[in-house]
């Protein structure tokens, strides 16, 4: 087997896979601004469907963004201190706790949602509020925040850094806010992007937990796919992409320089 042939074959396959991933995205984006997708581009471009979607589903957008931010706040408050505690004392116990906290990600959202419904579905106020969905999102995204922060904390010499600060007279709050947090900024940022992205796109749990008054963006998407014409579903998807692609790109940009440094 000669090298150029091998290169070409691999490149070909890679291009094919890339095409498989990107073409439907482009198609759906295009469909969202096409007058009539069945007739094709020749029918002309329009923003009509996008306006329609905003008209019909603006509340789902607002709820999803609000949920994502609330979820971010919760995972920061819960996750960052937890990650610090786990990093500070690597022992069998903390390892076990870490494993435990990750279980909600390993278990399908459907199961978690059913469990939440059975346990808390009886509390009407809670059940019908967006907080019910928030709980699900926090459960599902918290491990990602903890993991991201923990990864950075375990890569720096936390112990010596803190001893250095202590030798200079820094008490725990001083150390935590002045030394530890600034030094795991990259982990917090990566975790935050992940949490927001996952929360905005979460469907498995949310579909079970939502009520007609608490519809999130993906719930609305499923709804539009099932009951609206293709162009509206596409336009809605387009809006979703516009929302989520910058987040995903930021995540890529964030992970790239760090990977290069490691080598």
């Amino acid at each position: 087997m000669n090298r150029p042939f091998l290169f070409a074959a691999q490149l070909g396959l890679t291009l094919l896979v890339a095409a498989f991933l990107v073409i439907p995205v482009l198609m759906s984006m295009l469909a969202g601004v096409t007058v009539n997708f069945f007739q094709g581009i020749s029918s002309g471009l329009t923003l009509r469907w996008v306006w329609r979607v905003l008209d019909l589903y603006a509340d789902t957008l607002a709820l999803s963004l609000g949920l994502a931010l609330a979820c971010l706040a919760c995972t920061l408050v819960l996750g960052v201190p937890a990650a610090y505690a786990l990093a500070k004392r690597p022992s069998r116990l903390t390892r076990l706790i870490e494993e435990m906290l990750v279980v909600p990600v390993a278990v399908p959202g459907l199961a978690t949602a059913l469990a939440l419904l059975i346990a808390y579905g009886g509390f009407r106020e809670f059940r019908t509020s967006a907080a019910f969905i928030l709980v699900g999102h926090v459960l599902f995204t918290l491990p990602f925040m903890i993991r991201a922060v923990l990864a950075v904390l375990s890569s720096i010499d936390l112990k010596t850094l803190e001893e250095g600060a202590r030798s200079l007279g820094a008490s725990f709050p001083h150390r935590f806010f002045g030394v530890i947090l600034p030094n795991c900024r990259s982990g917090i940022l990566a975790g935050s992007l992940m949490v927001v992205t996952l929360s905005i796109g979460e469907f498995n749990l949310t579909w079970m937990l939502h009520t007609p008054l608490t519809k999130t963006l993906p719930v609305g998407l499923a709804d539009s796919y099932a009951s609206m014409r293709l162009e509206i579903g596409s336009a809605y998807t387009l809006i979703f992409f516009i929302l989520i692609l910058p987040l995903l790109m930021a995540m890529q940009a964030l992970s790239r320089p760090r990977r290069r440094k490691e080598t």
């Binding site: 010596t160 001893e163 250095g164 030798s167 200079l168 007279g169 008490s171 002045g178 900024r185």
Partner: protein
């Protein structure tokens, strides 16, 4: 800027870790005000544990007490002890600039901005790193980092400066330069300093006194000269410099060794002693000497190091002058003075 030295006393300080390992046997120790005391020993000997006890990073077992001058600081955590600490891995804050690092301790102590700036500038100048003030930590070389770490530790005018293997992470040439600089600095400031190292050359150069430690116990405390020339036991003799072992028999005014005899002025009987490589000389022609064969010869520049067998029961390490032409296989005659022998108890 003069920091009056603090006298440090440890009484009955032992340390047992949570897993049951005894890192330090009960230790009584007094560090004089303004003195530089070096803890020397192999890894795991308890030297770092002792330093961490003095720092307040570890608490001694129940009976131990630590005093700074007359103040009992045993229960004070490191944050409250006002010590300066320099770490092997620098422990500089990557999120702050050089100046930010140096100012950190002052900020914690709520020193006013103007005073803080003046103090940082003074420290930068003292460590000759003024031009690095605004650099971030990851732009610095190892030597520069350790200078910043020193400046940071000294900026708060600590009662005692604690240095935990500060030069170990640096390469040889830099280590020597910085060692000289630290030495000058400590003498000028007159601060009480405790320095932990496993490098005997560093210990010799810096220490007013050296504490040699082994297996959680003090093996010997003394001036570098005393430790080198009069080691208390085999461990100390072995750990500091190279050592040769001699065992022979004195009979009728002659010391008998496998390589021959030397005139010897001591009562008859077996002789067990140690001898430094530099105490062995090539005997002048016509004078008594012990004959041996050179197994290997390394030219080291300022001297040459020979390994000679046949003279004593074990091969001897000999430091010979660099001008004599010697190579492996040559026969040499060696001699030494009686007062160069180090008596060994065991």
């Amino acid at each position: 800027m003069t920091t009056p030295g603090t006298r440090i006393r440890l009484t009955g300080c032992a340390k047992t870790f949570a897993d049951g390992t005894r890192a330090l046997e009960p230790l009584d120790l007094e560090v004089n005000a303004g003195e530089t005391l070096v803890f020397l020993g192999p890894s795991g000997c308890g030297k770092t544990t002792t330093l961490r006890l003095i720092a307040g990073l570890e608490m001694p077992d129940a009976c131990g007490r630590i005093l700074f001058d007359d103040e009992d600081v045993t229960a004070l955590p490191i944050e409250k002890r006002n010590v300066g600490m320099v770490f092997q891995s620098y422990a500089l804050f990557p999120n702050m600039s050089v100046a930010g690092n140096i100012a950190y301790g002052l900020k914690i102590r709520r020193v006013p901005e103007a005073e803080r700036r003046r103090r940082v500038a003074e420290m930068l100048e003292m460590m000759r790193i003024t031009e690095l003030a605004d650099r971030s930590i990851d732009q610095l070389s190892g030597g520069q980092r350790q200078r910043v770490a020193l400046a940071r530790a000294l900026a708060v005018e600590p009662r005692v400066l604690l240095l935990d293997e500060p030069l170990t992470a640096l390469d040889a040439k830099l280590r020597e330069d910085l060692r000289l600089e630290i030495d000058r600095l400590l003498r000028r400031l007159g601060i009480t300093a405790i320095y932990v190292t496993h490098d005997q050359a560093e210990a010799m150069a810096l220490g007013d006194r050296i504490v040699v430690m082994s297996k959680g116990k003090v093996a010997q405390i003394g001036r570098p000269r005393d430790i080198y020339l009069k080691p208390a036991d085999r461990f100390v003799a072995d750990f500091i410099g190279n050592i040769n072992r001699l065992s022979g028999m004195v009979r009728n005014g002659l010391l008998e060794l496998p390589g021959g005899t030397l005139p010897w002025d001591s009562p008859d009987g077996p002789l067990q002693a140690a001898l430094r490589p530099e105490s062995l000389r090539i005997a002048e022609d016509g004078l008594p000497g012990l004959t041996g064969t050179v197994i290997s010869a390394f030219f080291l520049g300022d001297r040459q190091r020979l390994l000679v067998e046949g003279v004593a029961p074990e091969p001897l390490i000999v430091d010979a002058p660099n001008r004599i032409e010697i190579s492996a296989g040559d026969t040499v005659r060696l001699t030494f003075d009686a007062d160069a022998l180090i008596p060994l108890s065991h």
